[in-house]
Each structure stands twice: as structure tokens, then as C-alpha cells.
């Protein structure tokens, strides 16, 4: 039996997508410099999502034979789908370099051992690495005969570190990810990046001083602007969330009741979601509803410009889909998802951002972050953080907290520098939960007059 046969089985429906979806995954575990096992997984199966009148039905199985229609009379929420032109086609990402399991294990063990032997003042009770490589293959057939094929290999490395000095302790994660082959690992410069981070955390743990609470100017690093754009702009710009489809899970959006063209940030704020970035974690060229992918400008110079749409949300807005539907596995429905989301860089240099601060903070990395379910109130706890005095970066600070609203932050960004860096993230959404690989990024940014608090006695 083929996907086309399943489409015929659901012919009573007006809209049909049948998907074969396979993710092959190999994980290597290294604990404190020693191998701790290999896990080899394959999640392969089929699904059908079908829609007629206003009834949406999704079914999945490891066997095509199990996929059968279900007739129910319901008071339904979906009303229709946008009249977009689907695109048949395929997209693939090449693996330019490969390495054997032994080579990968040796590399990771060597890096771990070298990091554990660093001459620092803190102890490292634990340093663990998970190396994960996957290949995602999708084949989708629609009721009009459109066919889409995608093949995206990815690598993701997650490093968790526990450090302890006489004065304080820290636990943190560092993640690396992208689409492609082993050539990605060479570009990440793992050992150097991790060595620098461990040394600066060591400095924070031993020399970090308490922050003085109050309103201050804050320079956020590329990493902080990445998490902020994902949480404060990307999620609330998912059209299904604005419509309430996720209202019982991750919540609604501050965009409910707002209009396109409305100002939400300063002129320095332009936000893009672009699935077509080569070697990105969120790469695809045709979405899971058969719509061609493109860059979306969510905010243009501070003004609400566009939401992330699939065909069902676009119908309710009276718009076209912009190709944002993705499913994480064969047994998950396509949802409106981010891909690679970022603040656009500007013209300043990093030094110029810092020079403009009299008494403030440079927050380079973070430990904890979260945001409320309207995507308004948010908080970040700094890991590598430094005071800025009279335009110069000074002493390390012990875990300053910034807490404020999306509106405060976006409207107070007065300058962004000319760099653009991306960071790996696993974006969560939906129930059943769908963790999906994305990039998030941006330039270094300066935000004026931010509420800075002291951890533990905010």
C-alpha cells in the first residue's frame, strides 16, 4: 500500500494530506570524560490529516493499514483553509563530511578530558555531553496529487556542566546545532567555546559581586537577543496562538486585539523568521501543507507586519499561508511553527553599544528564563554578566536578574550592533507535545532603563 492509496481511502474529505515521516537518531553519551553508552533510534510511521465541512481528523500509525476515517458529528472550531497554491518538489541537505562512531567518541572524550583538566579555581563535579545526529525524511501526498519530499540531516550537541566554588555554584547548558553533516562540528570550535565559557563562569563564581538593584541600561548579547526574540516575538506571532488554538496549553498572545501596522517596538526592532537559511536547524523549503517556504518579516522597524500562518489560521485571518506548518514526527499534526527567528542586525559596533552606557550591565549568557502565557512578563537570570561603568565593561556580577514586559523591552531597544549569531533551540508546542529544532539569534542589543533585581531577594 502506498500513500496515494491512503489518500483514496479518505476521499470523502475535501482536504487530505498523507505523510510518511521517519527520524533516525543516534545519541552518544559522555559522562565526565568517559563513554556512557550509545542509543540508536528510529521513529518511522504514517499519518493522515483530513478536513471536511468543519471537521478536522488526524490519525497516525506505524502501519498504513491502520489509517482509517472516523465519522463524527461535532461542533467544530476550524472553519476552512486558505486557497493557496501548493508546490510539488523536494529539498535535501547534504552531509559534506562524515565521521565514524569511534572518531566521534574520541573527539568528545578528548574535549571532555581537556575541559575537566582546566586550571581554574572552581571544581567541576560534572561535565556531560550528549552528541545527537539525526536524519529526518518526509514524504507528503495531498488530495490534488501534489507531492513533497524533504531530507534533512542534523547534528545537535548538548553539554551540561556543574561548577562549584567556595562562594557559589552554577549549572548550565551549552548547545550547538544545525543541519548538515560532521562538517558542522568543525565550524563550532567546541573545545575553545566551552573552555572560554568555563573560565568566565569560574571568574563569576569566584569574583562575581552582587548587583545593585534598580533601573539600569543593559547590553544583551547575541545569545540573549536570540532567546528574547524566540519567546517575546516568535511565539506570540504564531497565528494559531492569536486565534486561541493553543489557549489551554502555552496560552494566548499579547497580539489579541491588536492590528497589523500597530507600533510595538522602537525603530531598531526588525524581526524575521526564515526557514530557508542554509545549514540552519529550522531548515525547510516547502512546509508540511505543501506551501513554499519564505522569510517572514514579523516586525518591521517596530511595527507589527506579519504573523506565522498555516492554511487553517490564514483562512480565519482572510490571508494566505506563508508556509509555517511543520510536524515534528509521524504521529504529530502539522502546527504553525517558528523556524529560524532573529532580530535583524543594525549599524552599531559592540563597543559603541557599551560606550553609550554610564551605569549598566552586559549580560552575555543566561541560566534561567521564562515568560507568561500572554508572552508579556519575562525574566532572565544572567550567568556570565558584567557591570558597565562609564562606557567600559568591568567586574563580573553574580547572577543579576532582569524582569520586565515585552512592551518595555521592545520599545526601549535603542541600538543594535552589526553582528548576527544563531543558537540552537528545541521549541516546544502542542499537545501531544512537539519539540522541534530551531535557530534563534540576533545582534547584541542595548536596552535602556531595565528593571534589574538581585537573585533570591528580588
Amino acid at each position: 500500500m502506498e500513500l496515494e492509496d491512503v489518500v483514496k481511502r479518505f476521499s470523502e474529505y475535501k482536504y487530505i494530506e498523507a505523510r510518511r515521516h521517519k527520524i533516525s537518531l543516534t545519541n552518544l553519551y559522555i559522562i565526565n570524560g568517559s563513554p556512557a553508552g550509545v542509543e540508536d533510534s528510529s521513529y518511522s510511521g504514517y499519518s493522515v490529516r483530513a478536513f471536511k465541512d468543519s471537521a478536522m481528523y488526524f490519525t497516525s500509525s506505524t502501519r498504513l493499514e491502520d489509517l482509517t476515517p472516523l465519522s463524527l458529528t461535532l461542533k467544530e472550531w476550524e472553519k476552512g483553509y486558505s486557497a493557496d497554491q501548493r508546490s510539488s518538489g523536494s529539498y535535501t541537505v547534504e552531509e559534506k563530511a562524515k565521521a565514524s562512531l569511534e572518531e566521534k567518541q574520541k573527539l568528545l572524550i578528548d574535549i571532555s578530558k581537556n575541559l575537566l583538566q582546566l586550571k581554574i579555581n572552581s571544581k567541576i563535579p560534572s561535565l556531560n555531553i550528549i552528541y545527537s545526529e539525526s536524519i529526518e525524511e518526509k514524504e507528503i501526498v495531498f488530495e490534488d496529487g501534489t507531492k513533497v519530499y524533504g531530507r534533512v540531516p542534523r547534528i545537535h550537541i548538548s553539554v551540561s556542566v556543574t561548577m562549584k566554588s567556595d562562594k557559589a555554584s552554577a549549572t548550565f547548558y551549552e548547545e550547538f546545532g544545525g543541519s548538515g553533516g560532521f562538517e558542522l562540528v568543525k565550524t563550532w570550535d567546541l573545545e575553545k567555546t566551552l573552555e572560554e565559557k568555563i573560565k568566565s563562569v569560574d571568574e563569576v563564581l569566584n569574583k562575581g559581586k552582587s548587583v545593585t538593584p534598580g533601573k539600569k541600561d543593559v547590553v544583551l548579547s547575541n545569545m540573549l537577543s536570540g532567546i528574547m526574540v524566540h519567546e517575546s516575538v516568535g511565539h506570540p506571532f504564531e497565528a494559531d496562538r492569536v486565534l486561541g488554538r493553543e489557549s489551554a496549553q502555552a496560552g494566548l498572545s499579547y497580539l489579541v486585539g491588536r492590528n497589523f501596522g500597530e507600533r510595538i517596538g522602537s525603530n531598531a526592532v526588525t524581526v524575521v523568521d526564515d526557514p530557508t537559511l542554509p545549514n540552519s536547524s529550522g531548515f525547510y523549503l516547502i512546509d508540511d501543507e505543501g506551501i513554499k517556504a519564505r522569510a517572514k518579516y514579523l516586525i518591521k522597524e517596530g511595527v507589527i507586519n506579519e504573523l506565522l500562518q498555516d492554511r487553517f489560521s490564514a483562512y480565519k485571518f482572510g490571508l494566505n499561508s506563508n508556509g509555517s506548518a511543520r510536524a515534528s514526527r509521524f504521529d504529530r499534526e502539522p502546527l504553525v511553527r517558528m523556524s529560524n527567528t532573529f532580530f535583524m542586525p543594525g549599524n552599531y559596533t559592540f563597543d559603541e553599544l557599551v560606550e553609550g552606557v554610564k551605569d549598566g550591565i552586559y549580560m552575555k549568557s543566561y541560566m534561567e528564563w521564562n515568560i507568561d502565557d500572554l508572552r508579556i512578563g519575562q525574566r532572565y537570570v544572567g550567568l556570565e554578566a558584567y557591570e558597565i561603568k562609564n562606557g567600559e565593561i568591568g567586574d563580573p556580577l553574580l547572577f543579576p536578574v532582569i524582569e520586565g514586559t515585552t512592551f518595555d523591552f521592545l520599545s526601549s531597544i535603542d541600538a543594535v550592533d552589526n553582528t548576527l549569531k544563531f543558537y540552537y533551540g528545541t521549541c516546544g508546542k502542542g499537545d501531544p507535545d512537539q519539540g522541534i529544532p530551531v535557530w534563534m539569534g540576533g545582534p547584541n542589543m542595548r536596552i535602556r532603563n531595565v528593571s534589574v533585581k538581585v537573585r533570591g531577594s528580588e
Binding site: 565526565n32 568517559s34 563513554p35 556512557a36 553508552g37 550509545v38 540508536d40 533510534s41 528510529s42 521513529y43 510511521g45 478536522m56 481528523y57 488526524f58 490519525t59 497516525s60 506505524t62 502501519r63 491502520d66 463524527l72 461535532l74 461542533k75 467544530e76 472550531w77 562512531l101 569511534e102 567518541q105 563535579p125 560534572s126 556543574t162 562549584k164 555554584s169 549549572t171 486561541g244 488554538r245 489557549s247 489551554a248 496549553q249 502555552a250 504521529d331 499534526e333 541560566m367 534561567e368 528564563w369 521564562n370 515568560i371 507568561d372 502565557d373 508579556i376 512578563g377 525574566r379 536578574v401 524582569e403 499537545d431 501531544p432 507535545d433 528593571s451 533585581k453 537573585r455 533570591g456
Partner: protein, 418 residues
């Protein structure tokens, strides 16, 4: 019984230990928004997992659908010796339990009229998920174990919206009977309106069973011996007998009471056990390998390499919910997005949502909105003042571990707001 798995086991000779497991899940899911059905999902999933170990080498494989045994053999040849390897239990029993349940017809025939009646009948527009699930867990090992457990459960959550106010409730059960109460509770909580501003500071807080469920999912992470072994838990350096919590607090891993698992992934029969008993630490959650490394005995919580909880019970107290709310407290109906700054210290913050009600002299004076609990989990455990006699079995999207939880009054909780 389990002939397909025994055949795979038979084909894997020459190893010290082999385990072949299968988990089949059939699920009917109803997603609803504003009291209308968004989608009905019927999901069938079948995963086969194989563990092979020889000396200090092991390989764990898992596949949905068919599994490639030759790939297992070939890959095993190139894996390195490991500092930690799984050990199967010396259990050669044959075990079979088949639970009979009317939920079977809900899954197979789509008999969801009773569910729809409750959703459509919500006073305020309600959103949420109802899950009806059949799980079949099978495991055979080279030590002679042959186990089979067919089970049913239902869970769900309802979030009712009263304009800008909302209330949420959840359930985990052997049947769908708690749905009616979940809809009712969500509506009652959504009906409490009015606003009150809460400034940063320390407050006495009453956590609802949903919030307890969220925090207990995290607590189970900290109680896993793996996370203690890797210095990623505030229970690092804690010894059995240490007093780490309020004497009113008893937390158990409860796979039997919750009917979630009968045997673990290493063929150890599960049992309910206290992790904290009257404030005193009793045990971490172990599998065989972590127990061997940490001078303990398995608690029947494998997870290969990584022990996990199969469900938590927080023992209820002997006072009413009303008496917990009788003073000056903040009641937190629900929370989400709990994130940790520091796993070794258990420092975290979580965002409150839905009915976050300020009580003054026992009377509700308004909703505090989306304030944050910014504190340390060990400090919360120590500052538990009282627990309600009423308790609920809950599970929802941001409290994924089935948990039986009462309402809990915690003194001096650090609250912040954006």
C-alpha cells in the same frame, strides 16, 4: 505470550544480557477550544526496544515499526566500553495483567458523546485536551522474564475563560468520571474576578494540586539517582535519614496506586515507596546500575541508565481547603514554564496563571495576575505548613507526571512580578 519478542531475543545470542521490550499505545485525543472541537486524533504507536550488554559494552536501540536486528549486532561491534552499563534483574517470572475497561470502546469506536456533553455544557468557553489511552507493555529478558501489562487510563485538562480571567483544572483517572468535576472547578475558578496588585516580596501561598503536580514532575527529576550521580540535583550529598522537608510532607513514587507500571525496564517489579517520609529523606529512585554504583538497591524505577518516577503521590493532610485559605494568602490555581537557574541548588522560577487569588482575612479580594514564584524547591519543601485532606489525581501538559496531590500551604514564598 510475547512470541514476537521471544523470537528477537532468540536471535541475539552471544551477549551477557539481552532485553527486548515493546510498548504499544492506542490513543483517542479530543482537542477543544472555546467549547468547540478543534480536532479528534486517533494515534497508534508501537515501539520495540532492545538492550544488549556484553561486559562493559552496551547498546540501546528503539524503533517504531520493525526493528533491524542486524543493525543492532553491527553497531554493537563499534561502540566503546562504557563507564556505566545496564544490568537486568534476576527475575525469571512470567507475569500477565490485563485490565478490562469501557475506555476500550471510546478508543476503538470513537464513543465520545459523554465527553462532548461536558465540553459543550461548560458555562464559560473552555479549551483543553481529553486523552483516552490504552497501553500494552511487554518485556522479555535473557534472564527468563516474560511480562505483559495491558492498561487503560484517561486524563485531561479544562481551561475556562471569563474574559481576561480564567480557571483551569485537570484529572488523571482509570475512567472519564472526573471530567465533570474538572469542568466545574475550572468554571468556578474562572468566575473569581477583580484585580489586585502584588509587589515583590514574601507571601504565604496555597498551591493547588495542579501546581503541586508541576513541581512534583520536577521533584522526580531531582530524585532520579542519575541526576544525583551527575551533580545535577539538590539531593546531591543528601543521605537517607537527613531531614530535608517539613515533617508534614511525605512524597512517594506510586506506580501501583496510580496503576501506571507493574514492572520496570530492567524486569524489576514496581512498588510504591516513600522518597520523603514526614520530612525525612528515605531514598532516591534507582535502577540496578545506579544502585550498584551508589551502594543501594534498585527501587524498580528503571529507565535504562536513567531511573524515572512512574507517578507521584503527595500524602494529604487533615485540614480543609477552606481552612488553608482562611488567613492572608495567595492561592495559585496553576503555573507553567518552570525553569531552573541552578539544579544543584534547586533555584527556579515559575509563572503563575489562571486564578491567582489574593485572600485577606479569608476573603478573596482579587486576582494578582501572572506573578512569579522565584524561590528554591528545597526551601519550599521545608516551608510546607499544612496540607489539605482533599486530594486529586492530576496530569496536564505542563505537569506531565501523573500526581496525586492535595492543596499545600507554604509559608514565606518569594514572589516577583515583571
Amino acid at each position: 505470550m510475547n512470541e514476537e519478542l521471544l523470537k528477537i531475543l532468540e536471535s541475539l545470542k552471544g551477549y551477557d544480557e539481552v532485553a527486548v521490550g515493546k510498548l504499544k499505545i492506542r490513543r483517542l485525543l479530543i482537542k477543544f477550544v472555546n467549547s468547540e472541537v478543534v480536532e479528534v486524533q486517533r494515534l497508534i504507536n508501537e515501539n520495540i526496544g532492545i538492550i544488549v550488554r556484553k561486559g562493559n559494552k552496551y547498546l540501546a536501540t528503539e524503533a517504531s515499526g520493525d526493528i533491524d536486528v542486524e543493525r543492532v549486532k553491527n553497531l554493537f561491534n563499534v561502540v566503546a566500553e562504557s563507564s556505566i552499563v545496564p544490568y537486568l534483574s534476576d527475575n525469571d517470572r512470567e507475569y500477565k495483567r490485563v485490565v478490562e475497561s469501557p475506555l476500550k470502546d471510546v478508543i476503538e469506536k470513537g464513543e465520545i458523546e459523554s465527553v462532548l456533553k461536558e465540553i459543550y455544557g461548560s458555562e464559560y468557553p473552555a479549551s483543553g485536551i481529553i486523552n483516552v489511552v490504552e497501553t500494552t507493555q511487554s518485556l522479555v529478558t535473557s534472564k527468563g522474564f516474560n511480562g505483559y501489562f495491558l492498561n487503560y487510563y484517561a486524563d485531561g485538562y479544562v481551561r475556562a475563560f471569563n474574559g481576561e480571567y480564567s480557571g483551569q483544572w485537570a484529572f488523571y483517572s482509570n475512567d472519564l468520571s472526573p471530567l465533570k468535576e474538572a469542568v466545574k472547578q475550572a468554571n468556578i475558578l474562572a468566575s473569581i474576578d477583580g484585580k489586585v496588585k502584588v509587589d515583590d516580596g514574601k507571601y504565604d501561598v496555597v498551591l493547588s494540586p495542579l501546581v503541586v503536580g508541576n513541581l512534583m514532575s520536577d521533584f522526580s527529576y531531582f530524585a532520579s539517582a542519575f541526576n544525583v550521580f551527575t551533580a545535577s540535583s539538590f539531593l546531591y550529598n543528601v543521605k537517607p535519614g537527613d531531614k530535608i522537608a517539613s515533617e508534614k510532607l511525605t512524597i512517594s513514587d506510586a506506580p501501583k496506586k496510580l496503576r501506571t507500571r507493574d514492572f520496570d525496564d530492567e524486569a524489576t517489579f514496581t512498588y510504591d515507596k516513600n522518597i520523603i517520609e514526614n520530612g525525612v529523606f528515605k531514598t532516591l529512585l534507582y535502577n540496578n546500575e545506579l544502585a550498584m554504583m551508589m551502594n543501594a538497591k534498585t527501587t524498580g524505577n528503571a529507565g535504562i541508565i536513567y531511573p524515572i518516577s512512574f507517578g507521584i503521590e503527595v500524602k494529604s493532610g487533615d485540614v480543609s481547603v477552606e481552612s488553608l485559605l482562611s488567613g492572608n494568602v495567595i492561592f495559585v490555581n496553576n503555573n507553567w514554564y518552570t525553569r531552573y537557574q541552578n539544579y544543584l541548588e534547586g533555584a527556579f522560577s515559575t509563572v503563575c496563571r489562571d486564578a491567582v487569588i489574593v485572600y485577606k482575612d479569608g476573603k478573596p479580594i482579587g486576582n494578582a495576575g501572572r506573578i512569579r514564584i522565584s524561590d528554591y524547591l528545597p526551601r519550599l519543601l521545608k516551608n510546607v505548613e499544612e496540607l489539605s485532606k482533599e486530594s486529586y489525581a492530576v496530569r496536564w501538559w505542563d505537569a506531565p507526571l501523573p500526581t496525586i496531590a492535595p492543596y499545600i500551604l507554604v509559608k514565606g514564598v518569594n514572589i516577583t512580578r515583571a
